[in-house]
C-alpha cells in the first residue's frame, strides 16, 4: 500500500524483507502497527538490533522509530560495506542477521567483511551451518567468480548463552548475471555435521548413527563429521546437506531443545532421525535451491539486467510467497509461475518418484546496477 508516496506496511512480520528491499530499491518504507495488540508492543530487541546492523552497513540512511516503537520509517541510504563488527541480539540466531547480509552484501560500495557475534544455532532461524552449506553455494554460483567470499564460524554458540563468532566476507558486484537453472539433478552425496556443545561427545556419535541409518536406505555416499565445541550453553544438533550432480544443495537440520525451554529434552537419536527426515522432506520438495535459499535466489533473479532468468523450485514456502509480493511492491517485478514439466520423462514410468511437483519461475530482471560502487 502506498501512502503519500511511501510504501506502507502493517505489522512486524517480514520486517527484514521490507527493510532489505527498501535498501536495495532506495525507496523509503513505513511500517505501522507493530505488535499494537500484543502485551509488549513495539519493536523487539532483535529488530532494533537488525536496524542497527542496517544502519552500520549503510551511509546516510534515516530511521525513525516512534516513541512506543510501533511504527518505523526507514529512508535508505547507500550501502557502504567495509570491515565491521556487530554483536547480534541473543533473541534470535546469527542466521536472522546473516540472511539479509547475503542479500545486501553484493551491492555494497566496498566489499563487506563483518564479524557477527551471537547464537550460531537455534531452532527458529537457519543456523550458520545451514547457511554455509546451502546459501553459500548459491551465492558462489551467482557470483560466478568467488573472489573473497567466505563464511567462517570461529566459535559455536548455542542458546541461550550464545557467544558464537562468525566472520562473513563478500565481494561486491556492479551487476549480476542472469541465469537459468532448470535442472536440479539427482542427489549424489550427503554430507553433514553433527555438533555438540557442553555435552558428552558421544552424543554426536549417537546422532550421527541415527541419521546415517536413514540416509543409507537411499545412498551409500554419506559422510558426516563431528564437532564437539566448548560453548557457554549446552546443546546438540545435526545439519545435513544433500548435493546433486547438477551442483545444487539441499539442506536441513534439527537440534535439541534449549535448556530454557519447558519441553522435555530430546534423545540424540531422535534429533538425528529428525534431521534426516527433514532432509528427505527437503529432497522431496526438491528444486534447484532449497527452501531457505528461495527468497535469495529470487531476489538475485529480479536484480539481474533486463534478461530472462529461470529457476526450478520446489513448493514455495509462505515466506517466499510474501517475498514475491514484496518484490513486486518494491521493484515491480512479476514472476511468471508455471508448472515444471520434466523433459523426456519416459513413458515406462507411470510415476516419476521425484517428490513434489516443481515450479518453474521466470522473470525479467529489473536492470539493477549497483550505482554506489564506484567506477573501478
Amino acid at each position: 500500500m502506498e501512502v503519500g508516496g511511501i510504501l506502507t506496511y502493517e505489522g512486524s512480520n517480514f520486517f527484514r524483507q521490507r527493510l532489505i528491499l527498501a535498501t536495495l530499491s532506495g525507496k523509503p518504507v513505513r511500517i505501522r502497527n507493530i505488535r499494537t495488540t500484543s502485551s509488549e508492543p513495539g519493536l523487539r530487541e532483535h529488530e532494533a538490533n537488525f536496524i542497527r546492523l542496517i544502519d552500520c552497513i549503510s551511509n546516510g540512511s534515516i530511521i525513525e522509530v516512534n516513541e512506543t516503537g510501533t511504527a518505523v520509517l526507514y529512508k535508505p541510504g547507500v550501502l557502504i560495506g567495509g570491515c565491521l563488527d556487530h554483536i547480534c541480539s541473543n533473541q534470535r540466531g546469527i542466521g536472522y542477521f546473516l540472511e539479509p547480509l547475503f542479500m545486501l552484501a553484493l551491492f555494497c560500495k566496498t566489499p563487506l567483511n563483518i564479524t557477527l557475534k551471537g547464537i550460531t544455532n537455534n531452532k527458529l532461524d537457519p543456523s550458520v551451518d545451514m547457511i554455509r552449506s546451502s546459501l553459500m553455494p548459491v551465492m558462489k554460483k551467482i557470483l560466478v567468480v568467488d573472489d573473497g567470499l567466505s563464511l567462517k564460524m570461529l566459535r559455536r554458540g548455542l542458546p541461550p548463552g550464545g557467544g558464537g563468532v562468525v566472520v562473513f566476507t563478500c565481494p561486491v558486484r556492479r551487476t549480476l548475471k542472469s541465469f537459468q537453472w532448470e535442472e536440479n539433478g539427482k542427489v549424489k552425496r550427503i554430507r553433514g555435521i553433527s555438533y555438540t556443545s557442553r555435552v558428552a561427545p558421544t552424543v554426536a556419535n549417537r546422532m550421527l548413527d541415527a541419521a546415517k541409518g536413514e540416509f543409507l536406505k537411499f545412498l551409500t555416499d554419506v559422510y558426516l563429521t563431528l564437532d564437539s565445541a566448548k560453548g557457554s550453553s549446552p546443546g546438540f544438533g545435526l545439519c545435513a546437506v544433500a548435493e546433486t550432480n547438477m551442483g545444487s544443495f539441499l539442506c536441513a537440520e534439527a537440534m535439541s531443545n534449549a535448556p530454557e525451554e519447558d519441553s522435555a529434552t530430546k534423545l540424540p537419536e531422535d534429533v538425528g532421525r529428525e534431521a534426516a527426515w527433514r532432509l528427505l522432506e527437503e529432497i522431496y520438495r526438491g528444486g534447484c535451491v532449497d527452501t531457505i535459499c528461495q527468497p535469495f535466489v529470487l531476489l538475485c533473479m529480479a536484480l539481474t539486467p533486463k534478461d530472462v532468468s529461470k529457476i526450478v523450485l520446489g513448493p514455495l514456502a509462505p515466506y517466499t510467497m510474501h517475498f514475491l509480493r514484496h518484490l513486486r511492491d518494491f521493484f515491480q517485478v512479476t514472476f511468471k509461475i508455471d508448472e515444471y514439466k520434466e523433459k523426456f520423462t519416459s513413458d515406462e514410468m507411470p510415476e516419476s518418484k521425484t517428490g513434489a511437483d516443481k515450479l518453474l519461475l521466470t522473470c525479467v530482471g529489473v536492470g539493477y546496477t549497483n550505482i554506489s560502487k564506484g567506477q573501478t
Binding site: K188, W277, V308, Q332, T334, G355, V366
Partner: protein
Amino acid sequence: MGEEADFDKKKGHAHRHSGRKAEKKAAKDKHVQELTAQQRNPKAFAFHSAVKAQRKFVRSQDIKSKKHHIPLVDRTPLEPPPVIVAVVGGPKVGKSTLLRCLIKNFTNQRFSNINGPVTIVAGKKRRLTFIEVNNDINCMIDIAKVADVILMLIDATFGIEMEVFEFLEICRAHGTPRIMGILNHLDMLKDNKALKKKKKALKHRFQVELYPGAKLFYLSGLIRDEYLKNEMKNLGRFISVLKFRPLIWRTSHPFVLVDRYEDITNPETVRINPKCDRDVVLYGYVRGIPFQKSQMVHIPGCGDCKIKDLSYLPDPCPLPEQLKKRSLNAKERLTYAPMSGVGGVVYDKDAVYIDLGNFHHGNKARNKSEDSEEEEDNVLQPLLDLQKTTDEKQAQSKIQLFPQSQLISNDDLEDDNENEDKDGVITKSGNGLPPYETVTDNTGRVRRRAIFSDNLEDAENGDESGSEDDDEDEDVEDDDDDDDDDDDDDDETENEEEDDHAIGPLRKKFKNGLSHKKRNQDYGQDSDSDDYDLDGDLQDVNALQSIDGNIKSRVDSHMTQVRKGSGSKQQIPGIKSNKDSDVTAKIQGLLEKINKSGQNPKQKAISDDSGFSNEENDSDDLIDDCKDEIEGSDGLLQDNGLNVKPPKNPETIDNDSDDSDSEEENDKLEYRSEMLKQATENFYKNQSTVSYLRKYIYGEVSDDEKGSDEAVEEVGGLFKRPTVPKSNTSGPTSRAVSDAVDTSRYIPPVLRNWSVEELQNSIRNCFVTGQWSDDKDAETLLKMDDEDLYGDFEDLETGTKIVGTPKENDDDGKVNEDNLPETKKELSAREKLLEKKRRLKEMFDAEYDDKGTGDYFDSLKAEMNQQAQLNRQEFEGLDDDQRVQYEGYRPGMYVRMEFTRFPCEFITNFDPSYPVIVGGLLENETNMGFIRPEFRIAANGVVLETDQSCKIVKKLKLLGNPENILKKTAFIKDMFHTETEVAKFEGAKIQTQSGIRGIIKKSKGQKGLFRATFEDTIKMSDVVVLKTWVPVEMVQYCYSVHTLLLPPSEKAAWQGMRTVAQLKKDKGIRTLPNPDSLYTPITSRREYIPQPLRIPRELQKALPYSEKPKITPRSKKEQRVIVVKDAHEIQMDTFMKRLKTMMADKIQKEEKANLERKKKFKADIKAREHTRQVREKRKKAAACRLTSKKQGKKSIV
C-alpha cells in the same frame, strides 16, 4: 560522393567473349597464372627465427583482439522502435531542408513545416524517427542521449562550427551514437580545386574529431530548393541499412521520445485558474528497455514525476505485415508526425484539426478519417484519434457525460437545451457544467462546443445555425461511419460519399472539450487500456442522474441494437468506436473469464452488452449483475478443490474475474490470512495448481489501483457496494499474520515418517541410485548406441541381409515396451531417434563445426546470443496484456503515459522544436546524493561514484612557540587558549619546522600552555606545528533545469551556469593579486661583466689560422715594474749570482763525467757481448756438427 563522375561516364565498348576477335586477343596476352610472391618463392618466406615468428603471432593476435568489443546481450525486440535520426548543425546550415528532402525521399510527401519528431516507415523492417535539433545546449544534451543516428551538417563554405564540436563532446559523455557528417553548401565554392581541397581538409578534420574512417557525405547543391534526388536516395539508403552497437546507457534505461502530447485537464479548472496544475498525456515509442507501470521518470527540462498511468496503444505507424514484396507500396509508406500535423491531426492548444488536405493519394486515405479504407486502417484510425483525450478528462468533466446520457434517455433536460441554443448562443447547461455553443457547418452539420474562458476568443466563424437534435443525430451517424465499417458496408459507403460532399473546407475543427467523436473514442480507448476501471466511471455516472429502474430494459434494447448491427438514432455514439477489433478481442477475453467464473449463459449475454455499450449506466448495471452472479458462483469456485476461502466480498471475485485489473487492499490482506491457513493445511496439494498459486501471490491480475475501490465507495446513495469493512485489516486473523514471527526457515507442520516404504519410494528417483530419465540413463543410452551399431545392415559381399534382433526386454521390467500401445511406442522410438541424432550432431559440432578458437571471447559471445534468444522467445506466445505484466512495456510499443500535476508552463510554453524525452529512472536512481565527478575539460564531467554523505576536510595548522626547553621536553605556548583545548589534543603529533617530531603530553597550567616531548632537543627559535583537519560541511543543493517550461523567448537565453569570471563581474568581486606576481619597476640591476672567452689549447691547435686567437707577445703586454734595489739586496743578488754560476759549473762538470762513464760502460758491454757471441757460435757449430753426424747416419740407413 562519386555521383558526378558516375554521371559523366560514357558507356564503354562491349568486350567480345567469343569469335575471332576474342581469340586474337586471347592469343595476344598469354595469361600466366598469377602466383603470389610466397607461392613463387616459398623459401624466401620460410620460417627462420622463432622470435620473429612469435612476434608475428603476437601482433596478429593483437590486431585480432583489438577488433573485439565486449559482447553485450542484444535486447532489441523483434519489432524494434523507430530509429531516431537527429539532424544537427549550426544555424542556417540546411537542417530543415535536409529533413524535408529525406522525408520526401522516403514517403513521397512534401512537408510544409516540420515540428517535432516525424516517424516514417523506411523499409520492410525499419522505421525512422527524424528530429531536428536546434542549437540549444539542452536540446543537444537530450538528443545525444537518445539519438541512434546523427546527421551532422557542416557548412563547407564556413568549416566546422562550434556547435558541432560541442555536440560531439556531449555525445561522448553518453556513448557516441552513429554519426554521419554531411558537407553542405558545396555549390557555393565555385573553384573546383578549392572545392577539392576544402573537402579533403574537412574530411580530415572530421575524422580526427570522430574516428579514422568516419563517413562524410557531400551534398552538391540545391535544385528548386531541394537537394539532388540521387544524393538523398543514397543518404536514405545509408541510414536505412546502418547497424548499431548497443550503448550502455540506453540498454539499461527505458525512455520515450514524445511525439505527441495532450492536455486533459478539466477545462473548467483551467478556466477558473489558468495556472493550475495540468493533467498531461504524453505519447511515444518505448525505447531502450521495457517501461514499468508507475515508474518514476525524469523529463529533462521539466523534472521528475511519476507515471500515473501507462498503457499501450496500437502502433500509429506500423511496419508492413507481409514481407514478401521487395519494396513497400505507397500505402505502406506511413508517416506519423502529430506535432507537425501529419497523420491526420493537427494540434492547437485546445482544438483538433482533421486534415483532409491534398495529399498523395495513398496518404489521403489515411488522413481522412471519414474515408473508407482497408479494415486494418479503419481499426487503427479511430484509435489513433481516440487518444486525444482520455478517460481522465471525461471522468472529471461531467459535462461530457451529461449530454450523452441525455441522448439515451431522451430526458427532458435535453429538450431544455435544445430550446435555448437555436442560434449559436452560448448556453448554460447547469449542473456546474461549462456552457457550450452550437456551430454549424456550411453543410448544415451542427456541433456543440464547450466554451471555456480561453476558448471564447477564437469562437467560430459565422456559419453556425441549425437545430440541436438534428445535429445530434448526424453526429451519431458520422461517428458510426468512422468506426464501424465492418458492420455494414453499404451504409458506410453511402455515408462516405455524403461526407465528401459535406466537408467543404479542408479542415474541420472540433473543439477539444466537447467533440462527441473524441469522447467516444475515449471510451474505446478506455476499455482498451489496461487499467480501465469501470468503477471510475461509476462515480461520474452517479453524479449525473438517477436512472435506476429502467436500466434493465434499456440494456436489453441496446443489446438488440448491437446485434442488429446498424446504428439506430437512439444508439449512443460510444458504441461504435468500441468496435475496434482490439476492443472486441478484449471484451471477448473478459467474457470468457466471467463466463468461466460464473458459468452462466445469461450473464454472458449481459456482459456482452456491457462490452459494447459504453454507457456508464449499463456498465454499472453490469457490475451489479456480475456481483450477483458471482456471489452465486462463489461456492463453485470453492469446490474447485483450491481450498479458497470464499471471499466475504463479492467485489473480490468481481475484480479478479474481470479484466479491469484492480485488486483491492482487502484482498491482499485476505490472501495473507489465507497464507497462514495454507501453511497449516495440506500444503503440497494446494500448490499443485499453478493458477491458484499465481492468484495467491499476485492476486491474479497485476495491478492494484486503490483509486478504483475508493471511487466505488463514493458511489453513494444509488449503487451501494458491500465493501469489506476496514476493521478487517485490524482483525484478529490479519493481525496474527502481520505480527507473526519473521523467519525464513520453513519447517513443515508435520514431520512425516520417512521410514515408511511408500514415502521412501516417492523420492526414490531423486537420488543417483534411482531411475534416470531416458535422455540421461546410461543404460538406455548404451542400448541406443548398440541399436545403432548392430542395427540393420546388409552384407554387401555375401548379399545377405542381417536384421538386428529386437532386444529382449529386460526381466526387471524397466523397459516394457510391449505393453504400450503401438502408436505410442512408435512415437517414442522416433523421438529417441531424433534425440540420438541431435546428440550426434552436437558431438560432431563440438569436434568440427563450432570448434571456433575456443577462447573466452567466443564462449562469452555464444552465451550472450543464447540469452538474447531466450529473451525473445520466453514471452513470445503470450498476449500483450500478460506480457506487459511480466516484461513491462517493451521497446517498440507505442504507449500513452498519463501524468497528473504537471506544471502549466509545459502546455502554455510548449515548443515542438524542443524535444520532450521521458526517461525512466531505475530503482535506486531516485535518491539524492553527493556525486564524485571527474572533470575532463572544465565543461563536462563523468560521474564516478555517488554516496549519501561524504567526508570533506580542510587542512588546519596550529602554530606554537616553545616557552621553556628542558633537554627533550619543552613547554609550548600560543597554540591553544584553554586547558580543554589541550585536553582534546593530548597525544597528538606535533612537529617543528626543522622536522623534529614530538607529541603533546599534558596541559600545563593556564592559557593553553602544554608539555610536549620531542625526539631531540628543540631550539627556542623553532616553531611548533600541529597539523589537523577540519570537516567541511557540504552545501546540499539540487538545481533542476526547467528549460522546457520557459517561455519561448527565454528558452534560448537560458544559461545553466555562470562562469566564475561572470559571477565576479556580476557581483563586483575583485581578487587581490599576489604582490609577488605584480610587475614593479626594476630598481637596481648589477652590471653585466662578460667572462673572457677561453679557448682550450687543443682546440686552438685545430683551428684554422684565421680563426686562431692571435697571441700578442707577452712582453708588450706586461711591463715589468722597475725594481730599485738597495745595497743589501744588491749584495745578496751578486752572492746568489755567484752561487748560481758555481752551481752551473758544477753541473756541467758532472755531466761531462757522466758522459765519459757512460761511454766507457757501453764499450765494456760491447766487448762482453762480442765474446759471448763468439762463444755461442762455437757452441752452435759443435752442436750442429753433432746433429749432422747423427742425421748423416740416418740418411745412410
